[in-house]
């Protein structure tokens, strides 16, 4: 018998690592699961936003004249001129024209640059803020999600050290032998095969979340507390220039120049800084096809003359690495195939989070110290999260809930489910009921959406999201095996609460 490629580790160290792995996992399992689940959906954020507001004529190209008209119309529409305005150009993912400023004032535009309906996709935004901030105020939320990324990274590390046979058993799956062996194999197999994905997601997520507090520390020690000096080496300095010849920045010339001078980049967003002031400048954010860089930025003066680029796609190695963080975290770099891979792996990651805690519950039960309330509460988290998300989507699409209500509804409903499940019913019934609810509410949301928008669907995203949601709903309902439900209810002992 030959030795394994994994080093032989002392049994005591393995046991200590296992204890550490369990402690880390239990500490933040619920939040980690919610972040993973919402992150899996956020991969399709662009498609969701197009689906949510499908009554829009989509376009794949735009002329410089249209871009200029959008800016003029936007400045005329705004009551006060803001310090910065944004023009969103059509891309492969979002073939739409949008103009606006600040956090909320954004309008869709037609191919002549005329502004139309207000941009409105509250559920998509709800999902993004859930994943990135857990709906907390910006820095607190980012830091908490960053902490979850760190914990996930620690879990991957301690998980590998705690399971020295994890590679040897890479194809072992004893799903039907016993609850513990089945959950253990599910947890370990998904963990080992998707480890590069888990490490990437955890590291990039932690970096995005902790960048702000890290930057404050850096500013304090190396820049006399001046936070604004930290990021320019990567993201470039803001450009201030002279006033435009006719008062309004010449975005048409800037756009034409970019197309001519940098055919390797695809324009995506145009920022006009200080519109109408004596120090206007134009920044065009671009996508870099065939690269991991999320964006590169090209700068222009107010007359549309190119000043240079930040070099995110072709500059220093550190810039290219930093530019790839966002793309790698959200799977926004290789088209639909990569997004579907992220969906698949994201679901696997959510299962790893859920099965880790479930394993701990099963082990407690085996040791004669069962926690039936905690088991039911955990089921409410695992299956209640998709059910509450589906209810939130239904409320948003039907107009029953305004944008301001979505966040409190989501958290109050989830907390209510956890409390109810902890004190009533059996685990098996809660598991089935919540999966049925998630599937049923998703189908109801789809029905409402189609009733409201039938005949106005534009583009493949609208049909794609509807199909994806319908398949998810059917799988959720089918997973409860409703045709066996009556039999199971008759046969199940009272209070049975198998987690899962």
């Amino acid at each position: 018998m030959t030795s394994l490629p994994w080093p032989k580790m002392p049994a005591r160290l393995v046991a200590r690592m296992l204890a550490g792995h369990t402690t880390l996992g239990l500490a933040l399992s619920a939040l980690l699961y919610i972040v993973c689940l919402s992150g899996t959906l956020v991969v399709f954020h662009n498609e969701f936003s197009r689906w949510e507001q499908p009554v829009v004529a989509e376009t794949e190209s735009v002329t410089p004249q249209t871009v200029q008209a959008m800016l003029d119309n936007l400045l005329a529409r705004l009551e006060e001129t803001p310090p910065q305005v944004t023009l969103v150009l059509p891309t492969e993912d979002v073939p739409r024209l949008v103009a606006g400023a600040g956090e909320h004032d954004y309008w869709l535009a037609d191919t002549d640059g005329n502004l139309g309906a207000e941009v409105a996709h509250p559920f998509s935004e709800f999902l993004v803020t859930l994943h990135m901030y857990l709906h907390l105020p910006s820095i607190a939320g980012l830091t908490l999600v960053g902490l979850l990324g760190v914990m996930m990274l620690g879990l991957v590390l301690s998980g590998f050290l705690a399971h020295p046979r994890i590679f040897r058993d890479a194809f072992q799956f004893r799903r039907t032998k016993s609850a513990r062996l089945g959950e253990t194999d599910l947890h370990n197999r998904l963990s080992v095969w998707a480890a590069p994905f888990h490490i990437t997601i955890a590291l990039t997520g932690a970096l995005l979340g902790l960048a702000t507090i890290g930057a404050y520390a850096l500013a304090l020690v190396f820049h006399d507390g001046d936070y604004t000096q930290v990021f320019p080496p990567i993201f470039g300095e803001e450009v201030a220039t002279a006033p435009a010849p006719d008062g309004t920045a010449d975005v048409a010339t800037a756009y034409s120049t970019l197309l001519a001078e940098r055919p390797d980049l695809r324009p995506w967003l145009i920022y006009v800084n200080g519109p109408g002031t004596d120090a206007q400048s134009i920044e065009i954010l671009t996508q870099a096809p065939g690269q991991l860089a999320y964006f590169d930025e090209v700068q222009f003066d107010a007359a549309g003359n190119m000043l240079g680029s930040t070099g995110m796609s072709d500059g220093e190695t550190g810039q290219k690495i930093a530019a790839a963080v966002y793309s790698l975290h959200f799977g926004w770099f290789g088209g639909q195939a990569v997004k579907f891979a992220y969906l698949f792996l994201g679901i696997a990651l959510s299962v790893v989070c859920a099965s880790g805690f479930t394993l701990w519950l099963i082990k407690r039960r085996e040791k004669g110290r069962p926690s039936p309330r905690l088991e039911r509460a955990w089921i409410a988290i695992v299956w209640g999260s998709p059910a509450v998300l589906a209810a939130t989507m239904l409320g948003s699409l039907s107009g029953v809930m305004s944008e301001a209500v979505l966040i409190p509804f989501h958290w109050i409903a989830l907390a209510g489910l956890v409390v109810l499940a902890a004190f009533t019913g059996s685990g098996r019934v809660w598991s089935r009921a919540l999966r049925l609810a998630a599937g049923g509410l998703t189908l109801a949301g789809l029905a409402v959406h189609h009733a409201a928008h039938a005949g106005y669907f534009q583009g493949e995203a609208a049909w794609g999201v509807s199909t994806g949601l319908a398949v998810t709903a059917v799988l959720l309902i089918a997973s409860t095996r409703p045709w066996q439900f009556a039999t199971a209810r008759r046969g199940a002992p009272a209070g049975s609460s198998q987690a899962g």
Binding site: M1, A19, V150, G154, G214, I234, I321, R365
Partner: protein, 192 residues
């Protein structure tokens, strides 16, 4: 040549499947010599990843290759497992005696939380700042050392947090976390 990416992707898929097959064979033969199969299996998986390099820019291709291999492997696992549903729960065993020192465990848990949270974060930031300063002294550009700093914070926090929760004496863990914080802070104060 227009078909070049297709050829490389096909080669990658073939190498990936071969690697998975060889590793599976090796792990099934635990009592017989299987070192050669293990080595060949892992080499095939590495080759499957590297085969994506010529299809696009290097890093981009590598990421796509890894994603493809992960998805194939998970699909094989689920295909092998089938949809069999959960197994029955194990029978309960007699309850273990509960330790009577709950308050002491609570205090210990609080201390571990402090160590894994704020103390480990502080240590990670101090060590990352030290790395940032040292990288500057060895001629790294501002962009490169800033990128190093941004990645170092979460990686070091994860390592220190893991150290804080493993099953060692609490004093030893405290020492292990306090040392980098104090030493790193001292060195940083000298060179910053």
């Amino acid at each position: 040549m227009a078909n070049t990416p297709f050829i490389w992707i096909t080669l990658s898929a073939g190498a990936g499947l071969l690697g998975a097959f060889l590793l599976r064979q090796a792990w099934q033969r635990r009592r017989e010599p299987h070192r050669a199969q293990l080595v060949l299996g892992w080499l095939a998986l590495v080759a499957a990843t590297l085969a994506w390099l010529p299809t696009h820019l290097p890093v981009y291709g590598l990421v796509l290759g890894l994603l493809a291999i992960e998805c194939i492997a998970l699909a094989v696992i689920f295909w092998r497992a089938g949809w069999s549903g959960p197994a029955p729960a194990e029978p309960r065993r007699p309850a273990a005696a509960t330790p009577a020192r709950a308050w002491r465990n609570g205090l210990r848990g609080f201390a571990v939380t402090l160590l894994a949270g704020p103390v480990a974060l502080g240590g990670a930031i101090v060590l990352s700042l030290l790395l940032f300063a040292l990288a500057g002294q060895t001629g790294w550009s501002e962009a490169n050392r800033l990128s190093l700093f941004l990645f170092a914070v979460p990686v070091l926090w994860a390592l220190l947090a893991t150290l804080a929760v493993i099953d060692l004496r609490l004093r030893l863990r405290t020492l292990g976390l306090a040392l980098p914080l104090l030493l790193g802070g001292g060195v940083l104060a000298l060179i910053a």
